[in-house]
């Protein structure tokens, strides 16, 4: 009984968290690369797009999995969240569509058509990232009405763009060389500043919005342990700042900025998850208001069998396409 009533929803909340985190990190870097396009030369743009070409399809699948779990495991919350976020979701989808097809179109187009798709690739990446930030901003305030809350959501939107730019730039540091890599080091620092702002804002705002969250954060002595999270985030940020200041970067350290950026995202996500748990919609819908155990069990079996396989072949694909991105993608 305890296993089905408490354990199953918990397992799905965890799975959903993993899927969303995987999405934010993975699609985060390719959206970030998309937003950096206007700052690069045409030759660099080709290398940038080629560095994410083999991966973006699979990266976006994590979004489908995340929203899929929300849909199938927490249908009541799914309806509330997606209807409350209706317009930013629609904007995000339009953005994802434009950039998704722009991958293909820009590769095949010539002349001003190519310019148009390059622009749409940038615009779509930006629109999707910004909309996701707005969704996050609205979500953590519990969809509270009022101009102030909307302004807050817009700020989080801008901050998430910065976060994705950071992911994209650190990805490019690892996957490119020469002038483009140098540029990426500078881009990463700009992104990092925005991330600092965003993380600080969200950390301040979340306890202010909800009594529940406040009680959790200011509950001594647990709070002292909790302070490890911001401390570690700060440490990762400082490390990243120092790394991106080294020019040229040591050949063996090229992946380090990326992993620092991932660490920042993971830590921020953990803080957020701690704040919100056990709610799916803060103070309104808990994770125990899940689907029926019969349906959950069927899906859990599938997920546990298949997810290791998905991980395995994703690792395989990343191994196949390791190394520096070249200008021409098709062999």
């Amino acid at each position: 009984m305890i296993y089905t009533e408490l354990g199953l929803p918990l397992a799905f909340a965890a799975l959903m968290g993993v899927a969303i985190l995987a999405y934010v990190v993975l699609d985060g870097y390719d959206l970030g690369v998309g937003m950096l396009m206007p700052a690069a030369s045409p030759e660099q743009q080709n290398r940038m797009v080629n560095s994410i070409g083999p991966f973006w399809d699979a990266n976006e699948t994590w979004l489908v999995l995340g929203v899929g779990i929300l849909l199938v495991a927490f249908p009541a919350a799914h309806g509330v969240i997606l209807q409350a976020l209706y317009l930013p979701v629609a904007a995000m989808l339009v953005g994802l569509m434009l950039r998704g097809v722009a991958f293909e179109f820009r590769m095949k187009a010539l002349g001003w058509h190519r310019e148009l798709w390059n622009w749409l690739f940038w615009f779509g990446s930006f629109l999707a990232s910004f909309a996701q930030g707005v969704m996050l901003g609205r979500y953590i305030t519990g969809f509270a009405p009022g101009v102030g809350y909307y302004l807050f959501a817009l700020t989080v939107g801008a901050a998430l763009c910065g976060g994705y730019v950071l992911m994209g730039a650190t990805w490019l540091i690892a996957r490119t060389e020469g002038e483009l890599q140098k540029k990426s080091l500078a881009w990463a620092r700009w992104g990092l500043l925005w991330v600092g702002l965003g993380v600080a804002l969200v950390s301040l705002a979340t306890p202010m919005v909800s009594e529940t969250v406040r009680a959790k954060w200011f509950n001594f002595p647990a709070t002292l342990w909790l302070m490890l999270l911001p401390a570690a985030t700060f440490a990762a940020g400082v490390r990243l700042w120092i790394l991106t200041g080294r020019n040229p970067l040591d050949k063996n350290h090229e992946w380090r900025p990326f992993f620092c950026a991932v660490a920042i995202f993971v830590l921020a996500f953990m803080g957020l998850a701690y704040s919100i748990f056990p709610w799916v919609v803060i103070d309104r819908i808990g994770i125990w208001e899940a689907s029926r155990p019969e349906a959950l069990r069927v899906m859990l079996v599938g997920a546990l069998l298949v997810l290791p396989l998905i991980l395995a072949y994703n690792v395989l694909v990343y191994r196949i396409f390791r190394g520096k991105a070249r200008e021409h993608l098709y062999d």
């Binding site: 699979a58 976006e60 849909l71 209807q83 629609a90 989808l93 339009v94 349906a295 069927v298 993608l329």
Partner: protein, 435 residues
């Protein structure tokens, strides 16, 4: 704005999205298997032309796949935004089917597509061949789960009601292998094979018009024609079986699509006409006596239930016309495939009039598939899940008409732009071939 307007907008938006989405899977499921064949031919013969065919069509595949992915992601969100009532009532059944689609198929396709597209020089040939196969298996598996859900919505089976009124699966085998599933699945896979054959044939013909004798286009055209000639008549046969199945499980749909107003024995077959729901008759009808019963029940004197038996029947005119469009285009496709083979056999060449004809038939599969989809989905109305949940009861109340209108406009513009660009790139790719 009242509830009925919201329902209309929600339906318009979802319908637009699904109609747009279905174009791409219906092409890629079939095309993926063609690519397996092309890749295998290259591995077997080592001929550069087969590699050219493979490369050109992987590009078309990648493009179409991307269009399918992005419109599919949109759909996964619209389930919640447009039809929250659907998930509350049948989420315990629809949810796992959708989840299995993502877990077993979507990740597989998306991951190995990268290897297939960009990995030829990076992986050993066997792994590249395997990736091509995995992508094909993935697309078909995807269709399996989606059609299982769609068929269940048409002919629900295997479920029981939980105490709170929501449905849960009593038997998953019963849910998946519901009465219409085997027919719908075969019908859709054949439709996809045909759509891909005619796109292949049409664009290869286009290439041959520009570059007569092109080795790659000759090979793809020949392959496509043979496959089309086999699949097109087979589809007519499977479609007939599907019809018998529908007559048994959804007689109201059959009554609407044949515009049979009153229940009688030995009903005539209405070839064309304009169904009029005000007078409960078909204006300007051309009818063939007894043929309706013969076609529908394979017995000239069989009694067919008319619309008078079903107070809850779907709107007659749309399904009547869509059905005629589907069957009409399907017949033309059979004729075109066999005529082409005959000409090629006789002349041992591809005469230009034939190439022009085939180019004209490029998107015939899309027209037939879309019409068929309209028949089956509108034919299920007013139900969303047949006999269980009405479409009107599945809309939400938190999204306003203004929001729906604004997003509908955004989707429309985006789709129009994407579709235009898709067609431009497709003809461009086809025209320049493997150069």
């Amino acid at each position: 704005m009242d509830g009925s307007d919201i329902l209309l907008l929600a339906r318009a938006q979802f319908g637009l999205n699904v109609a747009f989405h279905i174009l791409f899977p219906s092409l890629t499921i079939g095309l993926a298997w063609f690519l397996v064949y092309f890749r295998a031919q290259y591995a077997r013969t080592g001929a550069a032309e087969w590699l050219d065919v493979y490369k050109v069509w992987t590009k078309v595949f990648a493009l179409s796949f991307a269009m399918g992915v992005v419109s599919g992601i949109t759909m996964s969100f619209q389930f919640g935004t447009n039809w929250p009532g659907f998930m509350l009532k049948v989420g315990n059944i629809a949810g796992p089917l959708l989840a299995y689609e993502v877990l077993t198929a979507f990740f597989l396709e998306a991951s190995f597509l990268g290897v297939m597209l960009f990995g030829m020089s990076r992986v050993p040939p066997w792994l590249h061949m395997a990736s091509t196969c995995i992508v094909a298996v993935g697309t078909t598996l995807s269709a399996f789960w989606i059609l299982a859900l769609n068929s269940w919505m048409q002919t629900p089976a295997g479920h029981v009601a939980a105490p709170d009124g929501a449905l849960i699966a009593g038997s998953w085998l019963g849910v998946i292998w519901n009465p219409s599933f085997p027919y719908r699945m075969s019908h859709m896979l054949l439709a996809s094979g045909l759509t891909a054959s005619f796109v292949l044939a049409g664009l290869s013909a286009w290439r041959l018009l520009k570059a007569p004798g092109d080795g790659a286009a000759t090979r793809s055209l020949r392959t496509a024609l043979v496959v089309a000639a086999v699949l097109a008549p087979l589809q007519a046969f499977v479609g007939d079986l599907h019809g018998l199945n529908t007559l048994e499980h959804q007689p109201a749909k059959i009554a609407a699509l044949e515009a049979i107003w009153t229940t009688e024995k030995g009903v005539p077959l209405t070839l064309v006409g304009i169904p009029n729901e005000k007078t409960n008759s078909t204006d300007y009808a051309i009818k063939l006596p007894k043929l309706g019963s013969l076609v529908l029940a394979h017995d000239a004197d069989a009694e067919i239930q008319g619309l008078d038996r079903f107070p809850d029947h779907p709107p007659v005119a749309p399904v009547f016309f869509a059905f005629r469009a589907m069957v009409g285009v399907g017949m033309l496709m059979i004729a075109m495939a066999w005529f082409s083979l005959f000409i090629v056999y006789k002349t041992k060449a591809f005469p230009r009039f034939l190439l022009w004809g085939l180019a004209g038939f490029t998107f015939s599969g899309w027209i037939a598939t879309l019409s068929g989809w309209l028949v089956t989905e509108i034919g299920r109305q007013p139900w969303l899940v047949y006999g269980i949940l009405r479409t009107a009861d599945a809309t939400g109340n938190a999204v306003t008409g203004a929001q729906l209108g604004a997003s509908l406009t955004g989707y429309l513009l985006t789709y129009a732009l994407m579709f235009l660009a898709y067609l431009v790139v497709l003809t461009h790719l086809a025209g320049k071939g493997s150069q």
